[in-house]
Symmetry: C2
Subunit: 340 residues, 2 copies
Amino acid sequence: MRPTVHDIAAEAGVSLATVDRVLNARPGVRQKTVAKVEAAVERLGYVRDVTAANLAKKRIYPLVFILPEGPNSFMRGLEAEIRAAMLRSPAERTSIRIETVPPFDAKAIVCILDLLDPAEVTGVALVATDTPDVTAAVDRLVERGVHVATLVSDLPGSRRIHYCGIDNLAAGRTAGGLIGRFRGGRAGKVLVVAGSMKLSDHMDRASGFAEVLGAEFPELEIVGPVETNDDADAVRQAVTAALEADAGITAIYSLGAGTRGLIEALAGHVSRKLTVVAHEVTDHSRQALADGLFDAVINQDCGHEVRSAIRVLKARSDGLMPISAQERIRIDIFLRDNLP
Amino acid sequence: MRPTVHDIAAEAGVSLATVDRVLNARPGVRQKTVAKVEAAVERLGYVRDVTAANLAKKRIYPLVFILPEGPNSFMRGLEAEIRAAMLRSPAERTSIRIETVPPFDAKAIVCILDLLDPAEVTGVALVATDTPDVTAAVDRLVERGVHVATLVSDLPGSRRIHYCGIDNLAAGRTAGGLIGRFRGGRAGKVLVVAGSMKLSDHMDRASGFAEVLGAEFPELEIVGPVETNDDADAVRQAVTAALEADAGITAIYSLGAGTRGLIEALAGHVSRKLTVVAHEVTDHSRQALADGLFDAVINQDCGHEVRSAIRVLKARSDGLMPISAQERIRIDIFLRDNLP
DNA sequence: GAAATTTTGAGGTACGTAAATCAGAAATTG
DNA sequence: CAATTTCTGATTTACGTACCTCAAAATTTC
């Protein structure tokens, strides 16, 4: 049987009340006595029963998710997963609020972060552009005692406790490896379509992609990246223009959103037999895979990301470390043959 | 606030004791009263607080994992994950026992299953060959009230409550899609190396692979599958023999274990520039990817599988349904570019 | 060394559920 | 209608922890 507070009290030769004071960092215990209790905890290998503690505390974890509004299918899928998690709130002792902000609007994010009350929120998960003001706002919030996790796109220099998303450098490299192998050594140009280089995930994907093409597939030349702000119409126009301007383009790597626009542009050039790799499984990309318009789609499981964010934020609020392997978000590769 | 048993008692106009009798299916309650309580539960949307219940019950979940012994790296990785889960046992209220059996030894599995005492075990997760005697033993165990989950390889006709593993038909299709695209339309033969057709996962992979090649890549002809019982030496001999016998082989799909043998065989034929897809990331396959000997490795995250098995078996013991999306094991595709 | 302060002990209640006892009420049986 | 049997209520203890109060002990301060 695992030891309880009673065992600690007996082992340390103090009363239950003192053990409680030490374990919960309450004042009024001499340093010498604190050491005795801590030694007993160490000796017996005591670990607080979090479920019993939560029951006694009637603890709930108030969490806030911040993500962009708008038609972006991936973000809406993410939101759906958050809503699914909200349905499990009673069982998981969470209380989740969703805040949406205009896409690429750093000021709006900063504003929300600064208005959060640490007394009312224990953790925040946010999808953010990697700009200095957002990083600063995150750091201010962490300073005020709120745990912050980044979602989908990281803020590398910030004090966030965890990043819930895929390794985007590896994702870009994967795309490079796939396109390179699919082209089978034939020379040509690859159009790279991105949303915004202010998003660290897009930056990383572009870097990883360029790295692999440079190292393993020198016969492929990169065109771009063109920035579209993840807007489908902008993507359609940019891709159409590029394809018409340059007959040497034989492949496309779309590392951002606006997949609908990409599909519309491709529909006008079916004869080109382009190798296409895009990101995120949505209704559109799924159909494009099935139709043979896309060769592969790189995906991140947003359900996993949301559940991971909740686990990590809860664990940190309890002062625990999460299972790191469980929190690693995998890079999923879908071909038409393994669509779920 | 979510309703408690007290609220149910008040709402139904009965005592706490009666609510308890109904909720825990204890005898001595008239059908009419049961209905009253159930109606109150329905009206208030009561859900039992599992953590409080477990605390009161001092509940632990005794689980048994059955897996093959021997040098198979994947199985040893699986065992390592089970041992990692055992370290979390105190917090997760599990008590896990590992039983190992000789590989492909159906009788040994049957023997262990039949000797399990339902009073001492609530759930079993096993890696098994798909043979009628194992299926029958699983059904007997389920009949005796033990929850059974299959791990890695399924027992399709059995009464197991859950299969913790990838969709192997889709995995085979994925391998087909990858090899087909990597070959870029060039005709040739693909050697398929399997462990045993008595394993449903190997069967499914072979079927999926053949399906995609037949439908999408008719220029590729399948040789095999050759069966090696997942023995590395047998794999080496089989692959070496096939490569020497047939100069038309341009690709290999290794859908079972014994990857070391495959690598040794390939080392003697580096000039052939074969397209190779294998299963499971291990030290060997990781090195082969890095060396460019393998083009892709299809993987299943055994940590996820173990955690999923534990969650499912626990949930079923509590009469709950797990989050199905969380329990779907993804097919991971690794290129040298996205190795973790 | 008395007074003030800090530290500690003892005991209780609570969280939501499980599980038990025992007395009393209701229904069924003869 | 009495004697059973079946059902129900009231109450208690327990799980492991949190948090509270009050008194007693130990320590520090003057």
